[in-house]
């Protein structure tokens, strides 16, 4: 709990100062974006309104004070409370990231399962598939998926829509590379489990290869990957920047990207805070899963 608060605080602080350290005047963002031709008066007015004329440490303290009362500040560019901006964008991104996470897991399991059942050739093929999947850039994969499933086949919309069909392509775009990575991570432990004496016991008990996989190997394979859920979520957010752009999906990733580009400090820090919070929650869920699977972790 305390750890989580620390993480949130540190993330917000680092972001706050980092964005401020970046060249570019936030006041310009406030009055019409970088390169605005506004006069000194306009800039001064904007600075005063957002407290940018105060010393940095005072701005920081004010920001922290705001945080404590649940106020993430006001976006420079959007002129709306950050909580509102994020509140609008979060559900879409969460839906996307979680769908992709689940899909990625499912695909990874399929890959591992496939490799666990076959001989060496299929293992090599599996590895190739996994590495290939892990090395597919989101922007390329997404474009190809659009080309195939939207433009050519017309099965799915190319522009993301709020309904399920609109979610499929973006989620797949995120899930496939993730699956490749998870699959590779799982493979290692899956191999060890397959070669173990308890697997022999299970086989000697009459367990089928499939049963062996689902009842024994899977648990061992899932462990290292489960501990990665939080991190996977993080990469999904990074990936969301690209996927949301590609599929014209409203969401946090794009908000973040645009905010960094516009030096919109409150939105960047706010988004980081939310992502950090989501990370903490998902890691917690991943740890729970891990503990569920592996009682050895419970004691530590």
């Amino acid at each position: 709990m305390l750890g989580a608060v620390f993480v949130l605080w540190a993330a917000a602080t680092i972001t706050f100062f980092a964005v401020r350290a970046v060249p570019g005047d936030p006041a310009e963002t406030i009055i019409g974006g970088p390169g605005s031709q506004a006069g000194e008066e306009a800039l001064a007015a904007a600075r005063a309104e957002y407290g940018l004329d105060l010393p940095l440490w005072e701005q920081y303290l004010r920001y922290l004070g705001g945080l404590l009362s649940g106020d993430l500040g006001t976006s420079y560019a959007l002129r709306a409370p950050v909580t509102e901006v994020i509140g609008e964008q979060l559900p879409g991104t969460l839906a996307l990231a979680l769908t992709a996470l689940l899909l990625g897991w499912a695909l990874a399991l399929l890959l591992v399962r496939q490799a666990a059942r076959g001989g060496r050739v299929s293992r090599v093929l599996g590895t190739i598939m996994e590495v290939t999947a892990a090395a597919l850039p989101h922007f390329w994969l997404g474009a190809v998926l659009i080309l195939v499933f939207a433009t050519t086949l017309g099965w799915l919309p190319s522009v993301s829509t709020p309904d399920l069909p609109g979610l499929i392509l973006p989620a797949l775009t995120l899930a496939i590379p993730l699956a490749g990575f998870l699959g590779q991570v799982m493979r290692e432990s899956a191999d060890d489990a397959l070669a173990s004496t308890f697997a022999l016991s299970a086989r000697a008990r009459g367990e089928s290869p499939a049963g062996l996989f689902w009842r024994h190997v899977l648990r061992h394979a899932v462990l290292p990957a489960a501990s990665l859920s939080g991190w996977a979520f993080g990469t999904l957010i990074s990936g969301a920047v690209i996927v949301e752009t590609l599929f014209a999906r409203p969401g946090l990733g794009r908000t973040l990207f645009l905010a960094v580009q516009g030096r919109d400090v409150p939105v960047v820090t706010g988004t980081v805070l939310v992502v950090a919070l989501a990370y903490v929650l998902i890691t917690f869920a991943g740890d729970l899963l891990e503990m569920l699977v592996d009682p050895r972790r419970r004691r530590v």
Binding site: I14, A135, W140, Q184, V185, E188, P224, L256, V272
Partner: protein, 314 residues
């Protein structure tokens, strides 16, 4: 210290005082093969026989890439930057095996010359990520409680940052360059690696053989380098070989956002990002560098895994 000494006295194939026949256990792995079907072959042929096709193929591919990185001019004598607008968007042909790009540059030449910067990004970013992760992971997985706690928090803060944000901030701070992209990508993959490595350390440190080393009075460092690291390294290895492809691709995502390796450098990620504009009119623009990335990563992974398996099974 005892290593040089150890090399000499290793496989006791011809032990001076062979144990009495009735004490002998089933013979070592080499012996039967020798007397068996391979018996007549010279040693090097026997070595070759054991090399698996996968290993061979992977090694050949990697060698090619390394050759391309070291001496690109040998494989592709032309200049990767030579534009020729008249020749733009040529599909693959004998003159241009991988076609030409939007400025009429030869894609084959660019892919070959791209090996060095791309592999450098891949290797360096992965190395940055891994080293950081090893430090964090070791602290978290092995250190005393307070260090575990601190490292754990640091990792988490790291994690909580979407990797792309780190990259964007860094680039905004210093301007885009391959070095910054490499560092940014390295930093953003580090937390994931740290997590895996930390978990692996935690698993290994509870192992019986680590206890055995404690019993021998070995200090932390010796236990770490002798047992914990090598045994945790399996997964690190996987990460490293995977990282090669992944980091190149992450860097290309920065190029997609217009923040990667500055044009017109022939770097695979940047080529991918630039070529995606013409996905439909000139698919070869992305297929060629994409295949290069995948091949390099796959070959590294397959070879690495295969070698690792050998070490484990020998």
């Amino acid at each position: 210290m005892s290593d040089s000494h150890g090399q000499r006295s290793r496989p006791p194939e011809e032990a001076p005082e062979a144990p009495p026949a009735d004490m002998r256990l089933p013979t070592g792995p080499n012996r039967a093969t020798e007397t068996g079907r391979d018996g007549a072959l010279p040693a090097w042929r026997r070595m070759l026989r054991r090399i698996r096709l996968v290993e061979l193929a992977s090694a050949v591919i990697l060698l090619l890439f390394v050759a391309a990185a070291v001496a690109p001019g040998l494989l592709a004598p032309g200049s990767p930057l030579a534009v020729n607008p008249v020749d733009a968007f040529q599909p693959p042909s004998w003159a241009h095996p991988f076609g030409t790009d939007e400025s009429g540059r030869d894609v084959y030449t660019r892919v070959v010359h791209g090996a060095r910067p791309s592999l450098l990004i891949g290797v360096a970013a992965t190395a940055i990520g891994l080293v950081l992760a090893l430090v964090l992971g070791a602290a978290a997985g092995l250190g005393p409680r307070w260090l575990d706690f601190t490292a754990g928090r640091v990792t988490e803060v790291f994690f909580a940052f979407p990797g792309i944000l780190l990259a964007l901030l860094l680039i905004a701070l210093t301007g885009p360059s391959p070095v910054v992209a490499t560092i940014a990508v390295g930093l953003s993959v580090a937390p994931g690696y740290a997590r895996i490595i930390g978990g692996e350390f935690r698993r290994v440190r509870q192992a019986g053989y680590v206890e055995a080393a404690v019993l021998l009075g070995h200090g932390w460092w010796r236990r770490f380098t002798g047992h914990i690291l090598p045994n945790a390294l399996g997964s690190v290895f996987v990460l490293a070989t995977l990282g090669l492809g992944q980091t190149i691709v992450w860097a290309s995502a920065l190029s997609f956002l217009g923040l990667g390796t500055p044009p017109p450098a022939a770097e695979w990620g940047a080529m991918l990002a630039a070529g995606r504009t013409y996905l439909e009119v000139a698919p070869w623009l992305t297929i060629a560098p994409g295949t290069a990335i995948v091949l390099a990563a796959t070959a590294a992974t397959l070879l690495g895994r295969s070698l690792e398996q050998r070490v484990r099974e020998s």
